[in-house]
């Protein structure tokens, strides 16, 4: 659900129904160290299909889903776990799946349905609508604006870092966007995709 939501709000989600399983991003060597066979990652639209379609190897479950207590398919699951661990935080902060989703979400905020000249506040409001289905409160806007301004200054000074961040994930980025601006918003989107309110079903 969390991965699906991140893909959906970022606009990356492939909505096709049915078909064979897909193999999205996974850290290199995970299968190898446990059982000597190689994981061949898919490309293109198959990277962004719902987690329902993700290939399951029971002995080495998909790490991002495993961290979030996806049932292991070893035994029937009568009750889903409700837990909260630092490993989950690492997944949604650093897994390329979520970093790419943040980049795509940032791109959406910078291009879609708001005018190019729209203020940062308007974009943050749009981001809240997309991720949390509500409007932000003034202190929430303030917190994100402070982060945005910090990152805008940082990436304006350091275009290399911006390019590195924007190069994560296989979907192409919109090259018409200003690199520093896009990277700064990617960092803001990374925060939004990690808010408790985004991760929890209330």
């Amino acid at each position: 659900m969390i991965r699906d939501s991140a893909l959906a709000v970022s606009g990356l989600l492939t909505e096709r129904l049915g078909g064979p399983s897909v193999k999205p991003y996974q850290p290199a060597g995970l299968w190898k160290e446990m059982r000597n066979d190689a994981y061949e990652q898919d490309q293109g639209a198959d990277l962004y299909r719902r987690s329902l379609y993700v290939y399951r190897k029971r002995s080495v479950p998909p790490p991002g889903l495993n961290a979030f207590d996806a049932p292991d398919r070893e035994t029937s699951c009568v009750r889903r776990q409700r837990t909260n661990t630092p490993l989950k935080a690492l997944v949604t902060l650093n897994d390329p799946t979520y970093v790419e989703a943040a980049r795509a979400l940032a791109q959406r905020l910078l291009t879609e349905s708001v005018s190019a000249a729209a203020s940062s506040k308007v974009r943050i409001a749009r981001a809240f609508r997309l991720t949390l289905a509500r409007d932000p409160k003034p202190p929430e806007i303030d917190a994100l604006l402070r982060l945005l301004h910090r990152q805008q200054a940082l990436y304006a000074q350091n275009n290399d870092a911006a390019v590195k961040l924007l190069s994560i994930g296989e979907s192409p980025r919109n090259e018409r966007l200003d690199i520093a601006e896009h990277a700064a918003w990617t960092v803001v989107a990374n925060v939004l995709l990690n808010m408790d309110e985004f991760l929890s079903k209330e």
Binding site: R35, P63, E74, N84, A89, L93, K164, D196, S200
Partner: protein, 483 residues
Amino acid sequence: MTNEILLTRRALFGQSARGIGAIALASLMQPESVRAAALRSGKGGALGGPHFAPRAKRVIYLFQSGGPSQMELFDYKPSLEKVHGSELPDSIRQGQRVTAMTAEQSSFPCVSSIFRFAQHGACGRWISELLPHTAGIVDKICVIKTVNTEAINHDPAITYINTGSQQPGKASLGSWLSYGIGSESQNLPAYVVLISQGTGRPGGQPLFSRLWSNGFLPSRHQGVKFRSSSDPVLYLSNPPGLDGATRRATLDALSELNQLKAQTFADPEIETRIAQYEMAYRMQTSVPQLMDLRDEPEYIFDRYGPNSRQPGTYAANCLLARRLAESGVRFIQLFHRGWDQHGDLPKALSGQCSDVDQPSAALVRDLEERGMLDDTLIVWGGEFGRTVYCQGELTADNYGRDHHGRCFSIWLAGGGIRGGIDYGQTDDYCYNIVENPVHIHDLNATILHCLGIDHRRLTYRFQGLDERLTGVEEARVIERLVN
């Protein structure tokens, strides 16, 4: 339209949270808030402390995956020389079920070990020439020769000894400890797993994540695999282009947003979330520091052997195990693959032993020098042993052995275990137990005992049953092993 509905529902919740809803919610969440506090303090086992004074505070389990041959390593059988090449008598086999790999063999010739044994230490224990370094610590270890299991194949056997059941789905030993007596570290998980590949049989039996699974226990008790690659814990590193200072800034913003929510909803689970993000941040520093062996002096690498400089080897993992123990990790489990010598045993087993002999002994000595052996229990062993009869062709210098669960050898050290003793006797064929059997449930009960836990009282209610590691049949603590 969906958004509108959500918004309304959330708005409603937001308002009621300020009134009677807040009180109801807060009391519903009480156990979680206790948990949040426990997480922050880094402790918090379900038992609230051990049942009695523990001898060991932590365990390092050196798991030898595949089934090391007891006849080649610890269970010296000069009696086999006389029957070498002759058929295994029916009186010994007693209709024992054998695996599909040898069930079709027309002949079951006994094999005497090709390796020499000698007596070592003050205790005078016989140890194989394959384990010269282990021979140097014989007075510190206790060898159990009569561990036994019903399982005869890897998957059920390794699941059995690690989780107390041949069927998947139960909680592993390390998860039970994390659940029962909690963690001593605020920067690291309570249960860490390290994996290495054996040179004796590359591409040997696979491992499964269920071996360190939490099963029915809450998933924060699952073993966390530390890897030798650039990211020792999955997704530990910040993405390229996002530096440490930026990560701090994002977590500050995130914490501010989550705090605002927590103030509105009085939901302690949000506090837990904030605490876990901070723990993740601390791990980003503490884990790489821990995995970086460059601060170890030269003599330590010499002691653990040349492989200890190469990340991902058993030797490097032994050194890491010591560092994890020093950092307060409760249960550190190494898995070394490749102990499955169906064929080419003499060569393959030599490889396996040279992988693990020196580092295992070094770990015992290293812990002793640091004054940590007394409260660190070390377990060395696999999921079963091997058959006295040959699998495949028996030649002058080559043979193989199939799986054997009726008796196998493991050793224990530190953590209250009496050094220099043997426990249990097998028959002249090293096939059946003659005296003092130790079922794997008994072994697990004894491990828990060393940690101050009564295995009958470490339970978890799941699907109407009080589950426990040692299962339903009565398991015994082997008191004689413990000081």
